[in-house]
Symmetry: C2
Subunit: 120 residues, 2 copies
DNA sequence: TTATCATATGAACAACTGTTCATTCGATAA
DNA sequence: TTATCGAATGAACAGTTGTTCATATGATAA
């Protein structure tokens, strides 16, 4: 009984048993996709810097703009993305909108990533 | 004494103290950049699927191609990127090249990310 | 009301990314 | 050698992304 070959692969499958075993353990595509989207959002230096700053304190758009030397518009656009991914939350006080990290998971992921990068 | 405003921001800086405090704690740009590049590499669904598969077993390019229904060329290109980021390692045995995760950090990061995504 | 300030957003554009296709490389076997 | 197979790679291309610029909101103060 041969492994059913994917149309995209014109090679001979060499390790049928391994493939079958992995196939059973592999998470659903949707789940992997969501995880990758989470990582992708971290994966832009500007967003990463914004998150790092918000890790330390609640800040308004203008603070972030000045602190990171990024235009107000760019900060605002990125905050919109971060909010869409539920990584930051905001509250308005008069004209000023304050942003902070949505939950402690974000901070935890960063801590681990920094450990990983600085360890080697 | 006023906070020195960045040229990109035409707003009035509102929270000088907060900015000053965050500025001291903020990691260097280079470090944040490296972390974001690490995340970015995870941030593509194809690469994430390859890494998930390699988490379970050592596999050759052909195995991955068949298992994930991705062309051999696409798999090979992505493995090149993953290897460049030191996230996978490879060994050649005759015509076949076997890939596996570079270290246990990769697996750990995935575990946490999955927990995060599935928790909410 | 009008003016001003902080923020948000749409459009445009350049830069980047991931795939496909065609080809090449590297190793083995005939 | 020549043929074959698994893997790697360069070029091209479509799709995506992040920034800038201009403008629009939304809230406050005059």
């Amino acid at each position: 009984m041969r492994f059913e070959r994917a149309e995209h692969c014109d090679c001979t499958v060499i390790h049928e048993d391994a493939i079958k075993m992995v196939q059973e353990k592999l998470p659903e595509y949707q789940l992997i996709y969501e995880v990758s989207q989470l990582f992708r959002t971290f994966g832009d230096p500007t967003r990463a810097r914004i998150l790092c700053a918000l890790k330390e304190a609640e800040l308004c758009v203008c603070d972030l703009s000045a602190l990171l030397s990024i235009s107000q518009s760019a900060v605002s656009h990125q905050l919109r993305i971060l909010k869409g991914m539920r990584m930051v939350k905001s509250r308005r006080n008069g004209k000023v909108v304050y942003y902070s990290l949505a939950d402690e998971h974000i901070e935890a992921l960063f801590r681990i990533a920094f450990t990983h990068v600085t360890e080697e």
